[in-house]
Amino acid sequence: MMDPRELYQELILDHGRRPRNFRPMPDASHSAEGKNPLCGDHVIVRLRYKDGVVEDVAFEGSGCAICTAAASTMSEVVKGKTRAAVETLFNEFHDLVTGKGTHDLEDLGKLAAFAGVSEFPMRVKCATLAWHTLQSALDGTTEVTTE
């Protein structure tokens, strides 16, 4: 098994410490709240979604480094993407962190830093909480839990 220290790539530590797009969004068109009751991770994802494109994403909440870094990197990579492109990215990210990934790591860019999560099944939910929440926001559901 992999040394847990390798899970905490520099990029994850950095985004965990200084999350990007960690702010309120008063003019959000969509939002949802995500909770992982088992570990207490909690994120609120807000976005401005117009003409089928995610114009802006922001999040707030509290969670572990994996959860915070996943939300932070997500907020960067989905900006400007169509709904379909967001779905594709989430699927690829999900496959990556659950170890089903056959995707080219280079295509995933920053998200590739989360490859180590697949070695820690207990932490998959930390990495996917923000993504599930984003999906709920786009679906128009306002609450999601990962258990």
């Binding site: 040394d3 847990p4 220290r5 530590l13 207490g40 909690h42 509290s62 969670g63 572990c64």
Partner: protein, 420 residues
């Protein structure tokens, strides 16, 4: 090595030394490496490791005395029944109950409390109150909430102090003439606090309330005396007292216990059955419908025998010393805050660390071979009370050493470095 003193000597003054090296040899699970390092197990409050004697007892049931209890006339059934009932008697002694029939085997503390919430808890009505404390495990909270929903009674809550204590005064402040049930932990799984159960029971009884004690965390550490506590009910789990999972105990004072309606219906709990009318047995069978966890009960009996083989004063002195050592060691780590600093505690050390989320700590510490628990510990209201999303928790058992604590401290410092 120091020769263990006699029990007499122990009673007289300094307790005998605790031969932890010998104790550790009794626990085969300790003999393994995790991520290439010898296992340090600091999660006994979640479940304790099992001594070989317990493993052998459980195996012995399946390998040899494999038969149902209270049913057959054949020899195997007789042997299984005798061993099963012997475990009940050992349990009676373990909690100092007056009668063996006051001991009912259940699946665990959770099932014991649900049994009570669905029988005793249905005797209350609108305007009545069920009083719990703010540090209760969800298992001593949710069943009572459900009882209140079903009956229209009100759930009231005694406050917990900043150090994690529930004082007699805090309970007294919430006791009223409408309080019908007082349900409280003997010791907190999250904070380690030992509650003044005997004093609280006295006050509760003055108001005519029934006292239900969740002993899941206390039973492995304290000498439980249900008569001295004057608990009407006392529940605990086998797996936390070094016994198997799947077995637990509900003690109840005979008069009130046998006045409760049956809970689950089925075999074993009936006196006679016809298609129009069924009559029920008395204690303990009344509450043991169906085939019980025979191996679990016998394994629990073996765990009690195992604990009884030690001088309790030395066990308690050792655990107290280890807790003091652990408390001091953790307090020396900059940015670490202990949650739960009551004067009277069992070996539970809950903490948060500045800049590192408990979950990240848990994963990183595991990487060093150290097993701790992280999360809300099934006490979400308590997390809110202390304004933390979760904590990391190291909990001690009779096999832990100062070296275990040192390994934890080193792992925590390493984790902190990574995140700084």
């Amino acid at each position: 090595m120091t020769q263990p003193a006699t029990r007499e000597e122990a009673r007289g003054g300094t307790p005998a030394a605790w031969d932890v090296a010998k104790v550790r040899r009794d626990f085969p699970a300790l003999d393994q490496t995790v991520h290439g390092r010898p296992l340090v197990y600091l999660d006994s409050a979640a479940t304790a490791l099992k001594p070989q004697a317990v493993i052998d007892a459980v195996t012995g049931v399946y390998a040899k005395d494999c038969a149902n209890v209270h049913r057959g006339v054949h020899l195997l059934s007789q042997r299984a029944t005798l061993a099963f009932e012997a475990a009940r008697e050992k349990t009676r002694r373990f909690v100092n109950a007056r009668e063996t029939s006051e001991i009912v085997f259940v699946r665990g503390t959770t099932e014991a409390i649900n049994l009570l919430a669905q029988t005793l808890g249905r005797r209350v009505g609108p305007g009545d109150e069920i009083l719990i404390t703010a540090l209760e495990h969800h298992s001593n909270l949710v069943p009572w909430q459900m009882a209140c929903e079903a009956t229209g009674a009100t759930l009231t809550v005694a406050e917990v102090s900043d150090t994690g204590e529930v004082t007699v005064e805090a309970v007294a402040a919430k006791l009223t003439d409408r309080t019908r049930i007082v349900a409280l932990a003997h010791a907190s799984n999250t904070l380690g606090t030992v509650l003044p159960v005997a004093e609280i029971a006295r006050l509760a009884h003055q108001r005519g309330a029934v006292v239900v004690v969740d002993g899941a965390q206390a039973a492995p550490h304290l000498r439980v005396d249900v008569q001295a506590l004057d608990a009407d009910f006392y529940a605990f789990s086998g797996h936390k007292v070094y016994g198997p999972t799947g077995i637990g105990v509900l003690y109840g004072k005979k008069a009130i216990f046998e006045s409760l309606p049956p809970w689950q219906g089925g075999g074993s709990m009936i006196r006679s059955v016809s298609l129009t009318k069924t009559t029920y047995k008395g204690l303990p069978d009344r509450f043991e419908a169906g085939t019980p966890d025979i191996a679990g009960a016998i394994g629990l009996g073996a765990a009690i025998d195992y604990l009884d083989s030690f001088d309790r004063a030395s066990l308690e002195a050792y655990e107290a010393r280890l807790l003091a050592y652990g408390t001091a060691a953790l307090e020396r780590i900059p940015g670490l805050r202990l949650i739960g600093t009551a004067k009277n505690k069992i070996g539970v050390l809950s903490f948060v660390m500045e800049g590192v989320h408990p979950h990240d700590l848990g994963t990183l510490v595991d990487g060093e071979g150290v097993a701790i628990r992280t999360g809300h510990h099934c006490t979400q209201p308590l997390m809110e009370r202390f304004c933390v999303p979760a904590t990391a928790r190291a909990s001690l058992g009779i096999y832990n050493t100062e070296t275990d604590i040192d390994r934890l401290v080193a792992a925590l410092r390493k984790a902190k470095e990574l995140f700084s």
